[in-house]
C-alpha cells in the first residue's frame, strides 16, 4: 500500500493571544512598547511532536476537545499556516475543506460564485465547466443560479457552498467539521457524499465532534489532547478512549479559564462545573438504572440576562440524541426566571430511574438566548454510565434494544 500522508514530529507554537485570533491585531505602538520591555515568553504549543502515517485510501478521524490542536493540524497539512518544527509530506493533490463557502461574494450570482469558489479551492475552469450542472443539481438551486447569493436563504447558500466543495476531486481530502452546519436532511446528504468519497478510495482526514459521523465514516481515529496524539487506533476504541478520558474527575467537568478559554471570558456567562449526582447526592460517573439521578450545571452570570435558557443534550455514544432539556422549559419556570440578575447559579435537572437503558451516555451543554445569542456550547462535556444494577427486566439476563428501558405500567386482562 502506498503512503498518502506522513507527519513527523510536527509542532506548532503560538504566542498567547495569537491563537484563535484572540488578539485581532497589534498596533505599531504595542510593538514599539514591546521593544523597551523584556519579552515575555508567553507561548503555547498548539501541536507537539505529532507523528503518524496514513496509507492511501484510508479514512481517518481526528477527535479531541476544543483547543486540542485538531484545526491547527489541518491548517498545517493544508499549507494555510507553517509548523514551528517537524514536517509533513503529502503524496497527492490535496483538497481542504476547513470551511464551506470561502470567498463567496454576496453581490455575485450563484453561477459566478461557483466559479470563484471553485478556483479558490483549486479547481481549474475546465474542471468547473465540466461539473457545473452536477454542482447546481446537488445544491438544488437551479432556479436561482443567476441571482446574487445575498438574496439566498441561509440554507440555499450553505447547500451551494457545500456542493462546490463536494465536487472537488482531490486525492487527499482534509475536512474540518463542515457537516456541523445545515439542517438534518442536508447533513445526511453531506455524510452520504463523504461516504462516497471514502468508497472511491481517496484518503480523508476528518475532524469532527460528531461521534456518530466519526464512527460511521472512519476506520481509524487519532485522539488529540493538548496538542499531542494520545491515542491512535481503531475508531470505536478511540471514541471510547476519548469519552472516558480528559475529565478531571469522574462525574464532573470543570471549566478552567486559563487552560481552555473557548468561550468569551468577557461575556456575561461563565460556566463553572457540570456534575452528575446519584440518588445519594454523590458525584459519580456511574448511576444505577433503577435510581433517579441529577445533572447540575453551575455557572456565574456577570450581568443580568433576559430570556436566558440553560440546558443539556443527552446523547448515546453513537451520537444519537436521547433528549434535549432546558431549565425554563416549564412555562411557570419560564415566567419566574425571565430576567436573571447577576450571581452564581445552579441549574439542576432530575432524571428518573427505571428509564434509561444501561450503557454510556454523553452530555452536551448549551446556554443561550434563543435566536439571539449563544453564550456557551460544548459537545461532549461529560460522559457517564448507567449501571445495569436493578435494570428493568433484570429477571432475564439479556441486552435489551433501545435507548430507553422504561418501567411502564402494564395491565394484563384475562378473558377480556
Amino acid at each position: 500500500m502506498a503512503l498518502a500522508v506522513r507527519v513527523a514530529n510536527l509542532s506548532k507554537q503560538y504566542r498567547i493571544g495569537e491563537a484563535r485570533g484572540k488578539v485581532e491585531y497589534r498596533t505599531l505602538r504595542d510593538s514599539l512598547g514591546r521593544l523597551f520591555r523584556r519579552p515575555r515568553s508567553a507561548t503555547i504549543w498548539a501541536l507537539r511532536d505529532v507523528s503518524f502515517e496514513i496509507p492511501q485510501g484510508q479514512v481517518v478521524g481526528i477527535i479531541g476537545h476544543n483547543g486540542a490542536g485538531k484545526s491547527t493540524l489541518l491548517k498545517i497539512l493544508s499549507r494555510v499556516t507553517r509548523p514551528t518544527e517537524g514536517y509533513a509530506e503529502l503524496y497527492g493533490r490535496v483538497g481542504s475543506l476547513l470551511e464551506v463557502g470561502t470567498g463567496f461574494h454576496p453581490e455575485l450570482t450563484g453561477r459566478e460564485n461557483i466559479y470563484l469558489n471553485g478556483a479558490i479551492l483549486g479547481m481549474t475552469k475546465a474542471e468547473i465547466d465540466r461539473k457545473f450542472d452536477e454542482i447546481v443539481a446537488f445544491a438544488e438551486v437551479e432556479k436561482f443560479i443567476d441571482t446574487p447569493v445575498k438574496f439566498y436563504s441561509s440554507g440555499m447558500y450553505l447547500r451551494l457552498a457545500f456542493a462546490v466543495a463536494a465536487h472537488l476531486e482531490p486525492e487527499i481530502l482534509l475536512v474540518d467539521e463542515v457537516l456541523a452546519v445545515g439542517d438534518a436532511a442536508f447533513q445526511r446528504k453531506c455524510l452520504g457524499k463523504m461516504g462516497d468519497v471514502a468508497r472511491e478510495g481517496r484518503t480523508v482526514l476528518f475532524v469532527s465532534h460528531n461521534m456518530s459521523a466519526i464512527l460511521h465514516l472512519t476506520q481509524r481515529t487519532l485522539v488529540l489532547q493538548k496538542g499531542r496524539v494520545v491515542f491512535d487506533g481503531p475508531t470505536p476504541d478511540a471514541v471510547d478512549f476519548y469519552l472516558a478520558s480528559g475529565f478531571r474527575r469522574a462525574g464532573e467537568r470543570r471549566w478552567d479559564q486559563e487552560e481552555d478559554p473557548t468561550w468569551d471570558p468577557a461575556g456575561p456567562f461563565r460556566p463553572i462545573a457540570l456534575r452528575v449526582r446519584d440518588a445519594q447526592g454523590r458525584v459519580t460517573d456511574t448511576v444505577r438504572a433503577d435510581e433517579a439521578f441529577t445533572v447540575e450545571w453551575e455557572y456565574v452570570l456577570e450581568q443580568p440576562l433576559r430570556g436566558l435558557r440553560v440546558g443539556i443534550y443527552l446523547l448515546t455514544t453513537r451520537g444519537e440524541y436521547v433528549f434535549t432539556s432546558f431549565d425554563v422549559d416549564d412555562v411557570d419556570m419560564y415566567r419566574r426566571w425571565e430576567e436573571r440578575p447577576p450571581g452564581r447559579y445552579l441549574s439542576r435537572v432530575h432524571v428518573p430511574g427505571h428509564w434509561l437503558n444501561e450503557g454510556r451516555y454523553i452530555l452536551s451543554v448549551n446556554a443561550s438566548i434563543f435566536g439571539v445569542r449563544t453564550f456557551f456550547h460544548e459537545e461532549n462535556a461529560l460522559s457517564f454510565r448507567v449501571d445495569p444494577t436493578g435494570v428493568v427486566g433484570a429477571q432475564w439476563s439479556e441486552r435489551r434494544l433501545g435507548v430507553l428501558r422504561p418501567l411502564l405500567r402494564w395491565e394484563i386482562l384475562r378473558n377480556a
Binding site: M1, L28, I76, E85, Y87, A88, L90, V94, S96
Partner: protein
C-alpha cells in the same frame, strides 16, 4: 509509527517550518494564473455591480477629476501646462496617477480584507495584491479611451515615440505592485498602515507632477524629486504621448532604480512575512 509503509516517489508537497527569506515561487504563481484571473474578474464585477452607470464610472471618475482640476488649477490658479490645453495636460498625468493611487490604496488593504480566505485556504498570497493591481489596470485601459478622445478633440497627434508608452505603463504597474506588497504585508501586522495609506497617497500627489509641470520644480531639487518613482512615470507618460517635459534623463534613471528597489524589496518582504499572515491577520 515511523515504520515506512512504502518508500514513495516524490511527495506532492512538503510542509516545513519557514526557511530563509527569498523571492516568491514564480512557477507556482504561474500555476495559479486562473485564480489571478478570477480574483481580478471578481474585483471588477463587484465594483460595478448594482451601480446604475456600471462601468461608465471607470470613465467618469478621472474625467470629473480632470474637469475639477482644469477649473481650479488651470483657470483660477493659471497653472502652466507646457503650452498644452490644461485639460489634456492634467488628464495625461491623472491616468497613471489614478492607476497607482487606486491600486496602492486597495491592494495595500487587500490581505486584511480577505482575512477569511487567508485563514482557510492555501494559494500563493501574492495572488491577492496582484489581482487588485490588475483590476485597476483594466480601469486604466478603459479611461485611456477618453484620453484618445480628448486628443482627437484638441487635435493633438501622438508623438512618434508613443511606442514607449507601454514601458511607462509597466513602470507604473511595478511601482503600484511594489508599494502594495510592502503596505499589504505590513498592514497584516500593524493596522496603522491602513490609516496611513490615504495620507501617504495624498502627500505623494503633491510631489508628483500631476497638476503642475516638472519645470515648476527648482533645478537643484530635481534629482531628489525623482526619488518619487511616480514622478518618473507621469513625466514619461507626457513625454511619450504629448511630447512635453523631460524625457529619459538622469532623473528618470533614478525613478526607475527606486521602482526596481521597491518592487524587488517588496517581493522579498512579502514572501518573508507570508509565514505570519494566517496566524496574525
Amino acid at each position: 509509527m515511523t515504520s515506512r509503509i512504502n518508500p514513495n516517489p516524490k511527495p506532492y508537497y512538503i510542509v516545513r517550518p519557514p526557511g530563509r527569506w527569498g523571492f516568491p515561487d514564480f512557477r507556482e504563481l504561474w500555476q495559479y494564473r486562473e485564480l489571478i484571473y478570477f480574483f481580478t474578474w471578481r474585483d471588477l464585477k463587484v465594483r460595478y455591480k448594482q451601480t446604475l452607470l456600471g462601468v461608465l464610472w471607470a470613465w467618469l471618475q478621472p474625467f470629473i477629476t480632470m474637469v475639477v482640476f482644469s477649473i481650479f488649477f488651470g483657470r483660477l490658479a493659471k497653472m502652466p501646462s507646457e503650452g498644452l490645453p490644461y485639460p489634456i495636460f492634467a488628464y495625461a498625468g491623472l491616468l497613471p496617477w489614478e492607476f497607482f493611487s487606486k491600486s496602492f490604496n486597495k491592494a495595500g488593504r487587500s490581505l486584511v480584507m480577505n482575512r477569511p480566505m487567508l485563514t482557510k485556504v492555501y494559494f500563493p498570497r501574492l495572488v491577492i495584491p496582484l489581482s487588485v493591481v490588475l483590476s485597476s489596470l483594466v480601469d486604466f485601459l478603459l479611461a485611456f479611451v477618453v484620453l484618445a478622445g480628448l486628443m482627437v478633440w484638441y487635435g493633438i497627434a501622438p508623438t512618434p515615440r508613443v511606442w514607449t508608452l507601454p514601458l511607462f505603463l509597466l513602470l507604473a504597474a511595478a511601482v503600484s505592485l511594489g508599494g502594495s506588497l510592502w503596505a499589504a504585508a505590513l498592514n497584516v501586522l500593524y493596522r496603522d498602515v491602513g490609516y496611513v495609506l490615504p495620507y501617504l497617497v495624498q502627500v505623494l500627489l503633491f510631489v508628483t507632477p500631476v497638476v503642475y509641470p516638472t519645470s515648476l520644480v527648482p533645478e537643484q531639487w530635481r534629482l531628489i524629486y525623482s526619488l518619487n518613482p511616480m514622478a518618473g512615470v507621469v513625466q514619461g507618460f507626457r513625454w511619450a504621448l504629448l511630447g512635453v517635459g523631460p524625457g529619459p534623463d538622469l532623473g528618470m534613471a533614478i525613478s526607475v532604480t527606486v521602482t526596481l528597489l521597491v518592487l524587488l524589496g517588496g517581493l522579498v518582504f512579502f514572501q518573508g512575512m507570508e509565514r505570519y499572515f494566517a496566524d496574525r491577520v
